[in-house]
Symmetry: C2
């Protein structure tokens, strides 16, 4: 683990009496919520969601907009070991597809009115020429894209300097994206052939011996049979390299990410931390983004307060991440902690699950902000 790791100043879970601005916001939220024309608590987790945003944003009426979506893209040397159903060139082709507006993320961003930014932190073949005449997606290439990397099995995924640069690339992207338009909610996702192998290795390392390889290594983009066996063997070999001969070792989040992750995962980790520092709520996308969130929470548990999980994918390891996070709940965590907003058996990545979940966050904020109170609507309340 490098010596000069970033330190983050994160707001943490809301606990009354610590921060007068948060206290005022939550009290205001609660008072209004009690007066809205609905039975108490009848909006369930939408109320939980609104209250979470009120505490983080420190406003009585939380907002979900402006929102922005940032996707981190990179290739992975481990892909050469035959762990994916698709060739490495697909990463590059898909980044071009994002920029041209044809990918799932493009369609969902357009529909939701959310700007899409692609941050290239290691797509093979060099910078991708911009071909988006509409300017719908912004494409940035970070210098970490040209930094040295490894393949997990023979050596660390990232030398310490690359790891630090990847974390910083995520933070820098968040600064660019959130300052452009006062973004309050950030959707974080990825694209990178091979990265579900890295996510599985990071997850296994952080969950410790409780997680069997088969529990965390799934089909990704669709490997099965012998290819899935290969993927599992690669993860097992990478874990053995890092853990030495002791299966019981549970790695630190930084070490797991540096040794077994990838630049896209590390950038997501850095991006989430930076967003939460800025009190921008993050909607985490799928399994790979959740592995980055898991690594972040393992080194900074208070980060959880800024994380919403868009969905639970059908990757088997995703369920394990939620179980682990539920078992490691920080004081003050609410009912949405480690609870995905959607369960639609998605397995695409590229922010798609976070984007499908965004309207739920929109709904929570719109309801709290715009519903009439009992007094305004002359509706008799139960406890007038």
């Amino acid at each position: 683990v490098p010596d000069d790791l970033p330190t983050w100043s994160l707001p943490g879970w809301y606990v009354a009496g610590r921060d007068p601005r948060a206290d005022a916001a939550v009290a205001g939220f609660d008072a209004r919520n009690q007066q809205l024309t609905k039975p108490r608590g009848s909006l369930g987790l939408l109320e939980t969601l609104g209250r979470r945003l009120a505490a983080i944003q420190r406003v009585e009426r939380p907002v979900s907009r402006p929102a922005a979506c940032v996707l981190f893209a990179s290739d992975h040397p481990v892909a050469a070991r035959g762990v994916s159903a698709y060739p490495t060139e697909v990463t590059r082709a898909m980044v071009a597809n994002f920029a041209r507006g044809g990918a799932a993320a493009s369609v969902l961003c357009r529909r939701a009115g959310v700007p899409l930014t692609i941050v290239d932190v290691g797509v093979a073949g060099g910078p991708i020429p911009s071909r988006d005449p509409s300017g719908e997606a912004m494409y940035l290439r970070d210098a970490v894209a040209d930094a040295p990397v490894g393949d997990l099995v023979d050596g660390d995924a990232m030398p310490p300097a690359t790891y630090l640069a990847a974390l910083a690339a995520g933070a820098a992207a968040v600064d660019v994206v959130t300052e452009r338009g006062g973004v309050r909610v950030l959707l974080v996702g990825e694209m990178g052939i091979g990265n579900s192998t890295c996510a599985a290795a990071v997850t296994a390392a952080l969950l410790g011996p409780a997680a069997a390889i088969a529990d965390v290594v799934g089909p990704g983009t669709g490997v099965a049979g012998a290819a899935l066996d290969t993927k599992r063997a690669v993860v097992a070999a990478a874990l053995a390299r890092v853990r030495g001969n002791d299966d019981g070792v549970v790695l630190d989040g930084h070490r797991a990410m540096q040794a077994l992750g990838g630049r896209d995962l590390a950038a997501m980790m850095g991006a989430m931390a930076r967003a939460i520092e800025r009190r921008v709520v993050v909607i985490v996308d799928g399994y790979i983004a959740s592995a980055a969130a898991l690594a972040l929470c393992s080194v900074a548990p208070e980060a959880g307060a800024g994380l919403l999980f868009g969905h639970r994918s059908r990757e088997p390891g995703h369920r394990r991440i939620f179980s682990h996070l539920t078992d490691h709940t920080a004081p003050g965590a609410d009912a949405l902690w480690a609870r995905p907003l959607l369960e639609l058996e998605l397995a695409l990545g590229e922010g798609s699950g976070a984007l499908v979940a965004l309207p739920i966050v929109d709904a929570a904020c719109a309801l709290h902000g715009a519903m009439a109170t009992f007094g305004e609507a002359h509706v008799p309340d139960r406890d007038p």
Copy 2:
């Protein structure tokens, strides 16, 4: 049960070889879906959803819009037995709140760009004067609002003529709402103090002895303690009246609805059937709307093909309805049958869960319609 029950001509679950137009639509949907720039099947239930709509709408590229929301409102004599946390006047006040744009449904409809129609099928106190200068919500009062009703315990919820008129009121409202603008997706919900008691009674009657009273009678708008005991006793008494001394009797959907439902529930049942006849896909709201769907499916199992369930509420009976429907799956049913799109612990009704789920249906259609194909995007496919 009345003699002159309506008969419905419903499309039913898609089975190849029965309907050439549906075959062509589904084949076209599948062919395009295979070519979109994503791993096969990676959009999970969103693909299932799109395919369902393609089959019902008989088009290769299904659409979620125009959509409309219709809420059926009525009061219930059983409310006088102390089964609700709120007084009967709240039904009337909330209908006025819908019309003025202050209710949860109003806010969500506005946000989603969905017209809201309130059909008064029995709000106490007579027609509600229109007070919506914006014209956001349409208010209709059906003649069934003045028809005789009973309280479940002493007599049937609706005499046969009232029951038939309530079914017809639902169908008539669908004709009005869907013809205004070529609606393709209809969200169906309700408002009525006391109606979770009716929904529980209908559910218990249709699930048979497998469902204990405590399994299906929940807090509704928030009753607890002695009031919840009262609510359970009322449902038990109503069931005993209808079943006679034989707990093992499983009622027919029409008889259960007529004896134990209410005009709002029966109108929803009639509305759902009429929408599906018109090949308009229905998003069912919460527990009460699902009880109406359960009654419909018990007399017309093929109706399931036209029903999407917006969410699972926190009412305990809702889970029982889904279990029952899962156990009674018709041939051809897909993975979304009896599977709620959301589980957000809502307990509000008034279409709110269906409205929060609508963006998921929008996403499924938008992705299928607008994503680039492998060929268009020059992305290498796994099996070119």
